[in-house]
Symmetry: C2
Subunit: 188 residues, 2 copies
């Protein structure tokens, strides 16, 4: 992916970013492709990058009694990091690729420095934080419902999930057992 493609990516994401801002931003970025199964961020470790998915898919999870609990999935054009990473603290989640994927990667320190010197990048990080919080609130709302409704609402809102996420991961995300998910699906 060329530098001008990186700029086009951010321009599509936030049309308000001026050409000079896109120059500054893309200077801090690099591009990388990684195979399915790679861990982008690991539970318990500090990381220094924020990622934007240009192709592929990831899941975020943490371990509870040795069992993976999925907290979310992300796909093309979505921003991927953990808030703890953003805050400079060790992550409490692992982010792993569930497909061969490609990312634009930004160093968080450089990103924050830019945000302080360039007001529209400041606006971008502010908006990313607000969107992340809204996303988390929607997750909480979803998770407050009974399992059956959780599945149906989710599939209604994002039918493409079923094509790209294993039912095992989906069940753990929904907070129900694989078997229960299978039964919910066979009845509807």
């Amino acid at each position: 992916m060329t530098r001008s493609e990186i700029k086009a990516f951010f321009k599509a994401m936030r049309p308000y970013l001026a050409p000079s801002t896109l120059d500054e931003l893309s200077d801090c970025c690099d591009y990388l492709k990684l195979p399915k199964g790679t861990a982008l961020i690991q539970e318990g470790k500090r990381h220094h990058y924020c990622y934007f998915i240009t192709k592929g898919a990831v899941k975020s999870y943490y371990l509870n009694d040795g069992k993976e609990i999925c907290s979310w999935f992300a796909f093309e054009r979505e921003t991927v990091s953990t808030i703890k990473t953003f805050a400079g603290q060790p992550s409490n989640e692992t982010i792993k690729l569930i497909e061969d994927s490609a990312f634009i990667r930004v160093n968080i320190k450089a990103f924050k420095a830019l945000a302080e010197s360039n007001i529209s990048i400041g606006r971008l990080t502010h908006e990313l934080l607000i969107e992340h919080a809204i996303f988390l609130e929607e997750l909480l709302y979803l998770k407050s419902k009974p399992g059956k409704e959780r599945y149906q609402e989710l599939i209604n809102a994002e039918p493409q999930l079923l094509q790209r996420v294993s039912l095992t991961d989906l069940a753990s995300f929904l907070g129900i057992s694989r078997e229960t998910l299978s039964r919910i699906r066979s009845k509807s």
Copy 2:
């Protein structure tokens, strides 16, 4: 509460705020006392203020099939708003006082304008957003556990909750029925 008490409140909250910044900030604030039961923010409506609790307690909830589902509680020195309110959108939660309470109130537009003109207020709003996101992630983590553990971890982390929150609200927050909470409590 006098203007200098308001300044002292923010100074205690963020020691990095300079006297001149505290002046600017406190100019946008007012102070108000409200009785138990008052709704600070209502589901479906747009609101224009962010609150800081100086005394008292609130709960946030939304309705599902006519039933209240508590999403969080907040107490002295905590910041109270909804992220949707912050984003200028109608709130999807109602925030109601569960004790007679007192607040410092800031107009969100003025707060955001200050954040753009004064870099340390910008830092403050940025930090508030990050803390809110971390708070939501911890809630999600808590809610991914079985009901019994949710209760025990919560009471372990915040024993004072039991003194200030009704068991009905606590059960709805934990996502279990009142009766189940009562049984969990009587066994432990």
